[in-house]
Every structure is written in structure tokens, then in C-alpha cells.
């Protein structure tokens, strides 16, 4: 019986890939160094005695969370205002998005039924689309900063900011949803002489209603999140209250409001998820 053949491969003494590892390590340092320099990345500052003192005092203030009835009522009313800003903003956004979608959908073009779309309608559709892209690509926080200047502090600026950004977003995505579906029914209606609005209402809309609604509900949830953020530039709601408490270094109030905010977002999340699954 032959002895077990001795393996000719011995484990190497050195890591065979050391050169590659060294190279990638150096490359990572070379890439990360300018990033760290540009962001003034100095983690040791966090453990500096002075900043530890400030942060420690602030964190110690977190407990107990503010729970006086007055403050809870205030927090609840501001939470409602946050929801209201999001809802009102989204309603106005729909007023903007629905006509823009009707104007820009290629499927509803009569001239496109016979080959190429005529030049006029094509450019109308394209320019509406570009307008939507511009509306969407300005962050809502920037809109809010601008509107706070024009209409003053308060919820009006937040509602307008959400309306413009979300109007652009909804209009663009509605168009994409309507064009990605089956166009057969709509085309048949148009060919048989129905008006564009009729073709939309009886052909395009029933096919895509569930998807459109589900996207709208999802955006409503996003709008609640962003209306809290808008409060930080003075557009009302929970964010403005939170900003005030942070500036006063009132940790207890900050903790309560963070909890209220997390609960609010979780509730909206749950509601929108339930609604979307029930829509299928």
C-alpha cells in the first residue's frame, strides 16, 4: 500500500498577494486623503475635552424627556401641522402634476397615431417635460428658503415648496407610468374618434390607477418626512419647534420631539404600506 502521496504544495511562507494588497492600501490612502482634507475630517475633535463637555451636558439634558401636558399638546399640534403641510402641499402638487401629465403623455397624441408626432405637439410635450425636470431638481429646502423670503415664516412657504418639488416629481413619474403600460386600449379609443380626455379616462387611467395611487401615497409619506426638514428653515411644523429647542439646548424637548417624529414617520409608513398592498 503506497504511503499517502506527500503534497508537493507547501503553504507559502509569505502572503502571495502582498504586493496587490499593499498597492490597494496605498491607492485607498491616496484617494481618501483629499476627501478627508476637504471635509475637515478630524474625529479626535469629538473626544476633545471641550466638545465632550458640551455634548455631555446636552445629552444629560435628554433625560427625562419633556412630558409636561402643555408641551405634549404643543408637540401633538405641531405634528398635526407637519402632516397638514405635507397633505396640502401634495394636493397642490397634484393640481400641478395632473395637467402637466395630460399635456406631456406621448400615448395621448393624436398625430402620433399615424407615424411621427407633429412638430408643434412634440415641442409642447418636450417643453412641459423639461419644466417638470427643472421643478424637480431644485431641492425642496431651497424652494422653502426662497419662499420664506417672499411670504415670511410659516407653513405657507413649506406648502409651496412641497407643491413645486413634488409637482415636478409626480408629473414626471406619472408620465413614465402611463407610457410604460399597454397602449393598445387607449390607441383604439383614439383611432375610433374619442377625445384625448375620454381616451385617458376610459383607456389609460383604469389600467394604471393602482400604480398611480400607490406612488402618490408613497410620495405623501416622503412629503411628511421632508416637511419636518423644511421646518428647520422656518416653514412651520415639528421641524421649526425642534430647531428652536436645539438652539436653546433643551435636550428633554428634543428627545420628546424626536420620539414624536419617529412615531409619526412609522405611522405614515405603516399606513402607506397597508394601503399599497391593499391596492395590489
Amino acid at each position: 500500500m503506497p504511503a499517502l502521496a506527500r503534497s508537493t504544495h507547501r503553504a507559502p511562507d509569505r502572503d502571495p498577494a502582498w504586493l496587490g494588497r499593499l498597492f490597494w492600501l496605498c491607492a485607498a490612502v491616496v484617494v481618501l486623503w483629499p476627501l478627508a482634507a476637504a471635509t475637515e475630517f478630524k474625529p479626535w475633535l469629538l473626544f476633545d475635552a471641550r466638545s465632550l463637555g458640551v455634548a455631555g451636558r446636552f445629552l444629560r439634558g435628554f433625560w427625562p424627556p419633556a412630558h409636561s401636558p402643555d408641551f405634549l399638546v404643543l408637540a401633538a399640534s405641531e405634528a398635526w401641522r407637519t402632516v397638514a403641510i405635507a397633505t396640502a402641499g401634495l394636493t397642490l402638487a397634484l393640481l400641478l402634476a395632473v395637467p402637466a401629465t395630460l399635456l406631456s403623455t406621448h400615448v395621448l397624441s393624436v398625430s402620433a397615431l399615424s407615424g411621427r408626432m407633429a412638430r408643434g405637439p412634440f415641442w409642447v410635450r418636450q417643453s412641459v417635460r423639461w419644466a417638470l425636470v427643472v421643478l424637480r431638481s431644485v431641492p425642496e429646502l431651497v424652494w422653502a428658503l426662497v419662499f420664506v423670503r417672499v411670504v415670511g415664516l410659516g407653513p405657507t412657504a413649506g406648502v409651496l415648496a412641497i407643491a413645486l418639488t413634488y409637482g415636478g416629481m409626480l408629473g414626471k413619474v406619472y408620465g413614465e407610468i402611463l407610457e410604460s403600460g399597454e397602449a393598445h386600449a387607449t390607441e383604439t379609443l383614439l383611432r375610433n374618434g374619442s377625445s384625448r380626455l375620454q381616451a385617458f379616462l376610459f383607456g389609460l387611467l383604469p389600467q394604471n390607477a393602482a400604480e398611480l395611487t400607490s406612488y402618490t401615497v408613497y410620495r405623501w409619506e416622503c412629503a411628511i418626512r421632508s416637511s419636518v426638514v423644511l421646518g428647520f428653515v422656518g416653514a412651520g411644523g415639528l421641524g421649526q419647534l425642534l430647531d428652536g429647542s436645539m438652539k436653546m439646548f433643551n435636550g428633554g424637548e428634543v428627545l420628546t420631539m424626536l420620539c414624536v417624529f419617529v412615531l409619526l414617520v412609522a405611522l405614515a409608513d405603516r399606513m402607506s404600506a397597508g394601503l399599497r398592498t391593499s391596492l395590489g
Partner: protein, 277 residues
């Protein structure tokens, strides 16, 4: 008595459904939505009069007019370019830190195999949800106290929020990884750390990288506005010059922001077209 035949030659005339039926869920949802919208407009003290009146429109026009001409002096442009670079650096470093933290948090947050007790799964998921629920801007405002004004606080804020998002996504993909290779190694008695490194991680790595790139794209957009609370980047420049009513400079910064966002959109659209073809 003979029951009337239900099958007529012509379809029997049917009444239209009642407008509101207590058993119709869609009706209830519609009613609730309408009530929510009406209540929202009712309770908010919206100042439309200030916005749509002639005087307001005139002041709006004047406000927009002040944006022109945008400040295009070379020294200010250099400042804007530096701000843009700072924004990009914040988003990149924040995302990178978040990817590292996300992997570290995703491991306890996922059940690696059927026999895994995964005791830390629920608490870690709660932590991830909490990190995710608080927006970047709120994190930035909180972290300003510890990290001071400037891009460092913004980077940390992006990292904290994104590690919540990425940790959750990573945990999902770790749990959905094909169990075969890991089971084979475990059957040989390999320890769980090496099973993770040599079986689970290589399988999910492409997915983790694509999630990270997707979040990076989002974070560039977020980093651009994060500065309005004082956390560096283009946003800080914007808040500063808008506060001082330097409208020409504000216009330049807004244009830079728009260009940055549009460039990111176009790049990601192009990359997606190239990679999914």
C-alpha cells in the same frame, strides 16, 4: 311558484351602484382622504392673500429680478467650485463610512442560517430603524454641537443616517444570499467568521456595492442642502449669502447646485443604461 329566469335574452337592466356603500373600502378611503385634505387646508393659516395679491407678485418679481446678474467673478467662482468639491467629498466619505458601519451592523441584524439564534437581530434592527428614521438634516443639527460648524458634522450626519439605510438593505441581502456555500463550509467545521468572509460576503458583494452607489447618488443631493444648518458644502454658502441678501451670489450657488444635481442624474442614468444593457 316559478322563480323568474335570471337569464334574459338581453342583459337585465341594472341600477348603477350606490354612490356610497358602507361595505366599500375604496369609498371609505376616498372619504378619509378628502377629510384629511380639507382639514389640512382648514387648520393651516395659509397666507394666500400675501402670495397672490398684486403687491406680493410685484415683490416676487423684484425678488427674482435681484438674482440677475449672477455673480461670475473669478474669485467667487473659485469659492463655489471649492464648495462643490466639499459637497462631493462629504457625500463620498459619508457614504464610505456608512458602508463600513452598515456591514458591521448588518451582521448582527441578520439570521445567517436556519440554526442561528440571532439574539441581537431585533435590537439591532430597532437601532437601524432609529438611525434611518431621523433625516440627515436633523442628525446634522444634532451633531453640530459635538463636531462644530463645518463639513465634518455634515459628513458624520450623512454617515449616521446612511448606515441605518444601508445596514437594513445589507441585512436583507445577507439573509437572502444562497445558503449552499455557507452550509458546506459549516459542515466542515469552519467557524462563523470565516464562513461569512469566504462564503456569504463574496456572494452578496456586488449587491452591496450597487446599494452603496445608489445611496451615494442620493447623498450627493442631500449633501448639497445639508449646509443650511451650518454643516458645510454648497448649502452653507447658500444660507450665508442668502442671509446677507447677496442675491447675485445666491443665484450663482443655485446654478451650481442645479448643475451638480443634473450631472449626477445624467451620470447615474447613463451608467444604468450601460450596465443593464
Amino acid at each position: 311558484m316559478r322563480r323568474p329566469s335570471t337569464r334574459a335574452a338581453n342583459a337585465p337592466y341594472r341600477l348603477p351602484p350606490p354612490l356610497f356603500d358602507a361595505r366599500c373600502r375604496a369609498c371609505w378611503w376616498t372619504a378619509a382622504t378628502l377629510a384629511l385634505v380639507l382639514a389640512s387646508f382648514w387648520t393651516l393659516d395659509l397666507r394666500w392673500s400675501q402670495f397672490v395679491s398684486l403687491a406680493a407678485l410685484r415683490s416676487m418679481g423684484r425678488f427674482i429680478g435681484e438674482f440677475f446678474p449672477p455673480d461670475a467673478s473669478p474669485e467667487f467662482l473659485a469659492k463655489v467650485v471649492r464648495g462643490t468639491w466639499e459637497t462631493l467629498a462629504m457625500s463620498a466619505l459619508g457614504t464610505l463610512l456608512a458602508a463600513g458601519a452598515g456591514v458591521l451592523l448588518a451582521v448582527p441584524a441578520s439570521r445567517m442560517h436556519a440554526g442561528d439564534a440571532a439574539r441581537l437581530r431585533t435590537p439591532t434592527r430597532l437601532l437601524l430603524n432609529a438611525l434611518r428614521a431621523v433625516p440627515e438634516l436633523v442628525w446634522a443639527a444634532l451633531l453640530l454641537m459635538a463636531a462644530g460648524l463645518g463639513p465634518f458634522a455634515g459628513t458624520l450626519a450623512l454617515a449616521v443616517h446612511t448606515s441605518g439605510v444601508l445596514g437594513r438593505l445589507f441585512a436583507e441581502s445577507l439573509e437572502n444570499a444562497p445558503p449552499g456555500p455557507g452550509a458546506a463550509l459549516r459542515a466542515q467545521g469552519v467557524g462563523s467568521a470565516r464562513v461569512f468572509l469566504y462564503a456569504t460576503l463574496p456572494q452578496v458583494l456586488p449587491q452591496l456595492i450597487s446599494y452603496t452607489l445608489y445611496r451615494w447618488e442620493n447623498n450627493i443631493r442631500a449633501a448639497a442642502v445639508l449646509g443650511v444648518v451650518g454643516a458645510g458644502g454648497l448649502g452653507q454658502l447658500l444660507a450665508f449669502h442668502m442671509g446677507l441678501f447677496h442675491m447675485g451670489k445666491t443665484a450663482t450657488i443655485l446654478v451650481a447646485m442645479l448643475v451638480l444635481v443634473a450631472a449626477v442624474d445624467a451620470l447615474s442614468y447613463g451608467a444604468r443604461r450601460v450596465t443593464t444593457r
